[in-house]
Symmetry: C2
Subunit: 344 residues, 2 copies
């Protein structure tokens, strides 16, 4: 297998053409549209090699070639030139930056909307994972005879509340003391560090308060566990129907049902825990239902810590350059957007 310069050029041409037209690319198209200085017959010979090596596929005898997942992978890794994001996208993002949004989930929805609007693909945005941030403040508020509200604020200014049911009554003063003690023990800790062993340790340490402390500590544990599952916002699922690769409704339906499984999406997105952009093409995806899709994800940060993920899912025939440039621009700006909400 000798991928010489001409073969690379031909493969590049095939992929570029197929991405933009969606039609299988024939040898004549290449020899006419792309100036390689050779005839279609020569290109046919080269294409035959490229097919043998698995970079392109022929859907049927009398059709042109389309790129395989392996072809796209080569393209993405070596051939693709990252574009700078286009002007109109920047304007749309700046517009979002200027808007007065003061709730994280609303912002996330808007981000998802914008991503799908710009790309015409389906976008996914996961909300900031509280577990990646540090405990800043914890407060217990008496609600009524049998319940207490637990408020947890983290250093990213993320706030969660949780109603705790108790068998005994706890007055304001006790709760204040307790809050102070808990703050002292837990303040500054990474949320994911506040786990069961630590809770057990605290239970023993605070044994004096027994009855009151235990349910509260349990509640803290539970709150952290449940609120640490990020939400996912999808937008533009329906864009899928615009792509010929999903003109078979059954395929589209299958994908839709998969996209409705938010838990699954969470697990897919949370696989992206590095910085930068991650591209997963077709069969590289672990989930069967999206093996004919490509997924591009980017993580975003709050105060330098990566806390969430934004992503685009679409057919493997995707405008990789554009999506990559958009996602990296957007992920860089998420920090700004979030801080506007969190720091006011």
């Amino acid at each position: 297998m000798n991928l010489d310069d001409r073969k690379i050029k031909i493969l590049n041409a095939i992929i570029k053409d197929y991405i933009s037209t969606g039609e299988p690319v024939g040898s004549r198209t290449i020899s006419k549209k792309y100036e390689l200085g050779v005839s279609s017959a020569t290109i046919r010979n080269e294409m035959s090699d490229l097919e043998e090596w698995g970079f392109i596929i022929q859907p049927h005898t009398s059709a042109g070639r389309i790129p395989s997942d392996k072809g796209y992978r080569l393209y993405v890794d070596q051939l693709m030139k990252i574009e700078t994001i286009n002007e109109s996208s920047i304007k749309m993002i700046e517009y979002l930056l200027k808007q007065k949004i003061d709730q994280i989930d609303l912002l996330m929805k808007e981000v998802a909307k914008l991503l799908s609007l710009i790309t015409n693909y389906t976008s996914m945005v996961s909300t900031p994972q509280i577990q990646k941030t540090r405990l800043k403040h914890l407060q217990l508020i008496p609600l009524d005879d049998k319940s207490v509200v637990l408020i947890i604020v983290t250093d990213a200014n993320l706030v969660t509340d949780n109603v705790i049911k108790m068998d005994v009554k706890a007055d304001q003063e006790t709760l204040n003391k307790l809050s102070a003690m808990l703050n002292e023990s837990l303040k500054g800790l990474n949320i994911e560090q506040i786990n069961l062993p630590l809770i057990q340790e605290l239970k023993i340490k605070m044994g004096v308060y027994g009855e009151i402390v235990n349910p509260i500590l349990d509640a803290i544990d539970k709150t952290i566990k449940t609120s640490s599952t990020p939400d996912i916002y999808l937008s533009g699922s329906m864009n899928i129907l615009n792509f010929p690769e999903f003109s078979d409704i059954e395929k589209a339906k299958q994908l839709f049902y998969t996209l409705e499984e938010k838990d699954l999406l969470v697990s897919i997105l949370s696989k992206h825990n590095s910085n930068g952009i991650k591209i997963t093409i077709g069969c590289e995806n672990e989930i069967d239902e999206i093996k004919n899709c490509s997924l591009i994800t980017a993580s975003y940060t709050i105060g330098g810590r990566s806390v969430g993920t934004i992503g685009i899912i679409g057919p493997t025939r995707m405008q990789y350059e554009k999506v990559v440039s958009l996602l990296s621009y957007m992920s860089n700006n998420m920090d700004k957007l979030l801080n506007k909400i969190l720091d006011g």
Copy 2:
């Protein structure tokens, strides 16, 4: 126009048959399947009248008849017999009742899922509207130099939090005093009663605290405004693709895009503010994009007050009886489900 007994029976037969098969119903089908004791020719004559009066429609010359919106309306108002909900649905709901779900939004998602699963239509569930409940407790917690967390708890035990940015520093003690004063003034008030005029009044009344009170009061106003917009959870949007009336992808796409407009759905659902079941058939819908759909909604209550809506949207050819019985059963049980979360 004289809708005699036989015509009613024929109309009933057409609608029942069409709902179950989805195929236009011919005169012969009726004379064979439904024992009316008359020949197909007679039925044809009657059908001709029914069509003239607008209860049924002939898609094309050589096809049977299908019910019109007017036909469905008559059916729903007068002919339909409300079924009792079937055993398996009850079991599924009871299963949900037994599950340990301790967050309202998770519960709402599960309810939506269940509704779409049982009906095979698309379900919509709006979260409890906090504005319909009463203020129970309000608390201000210092966060850092410039920010304070505002916690509002209502009598349905719904909790919201909001970070308030301030120019001046407020210490715990001042905030406690303030919380107490605000509690005194606002406790027991219906959340929607806490509006701008009242806030203005309070500002004047509490003039002494000036600098600190004003941003807090503004924040209360804002919090109430933003958190009073209910969320909507959809489930089974994709079920739409199973219905022949949406086999034209363009139509399905249009509907999908409409269903993605959560604000629109909120406004549609919030139109249902009475008790009981509300059925809106085809053209009766105000939004153009769902004029070929039927919408069935039911409100649910917390502590006797109607605070939210559950609904099913599907083709006008809908199994009205089943959906109505399911929604009324479910809406009656929402109270239980919610109280399990809210009261522990």
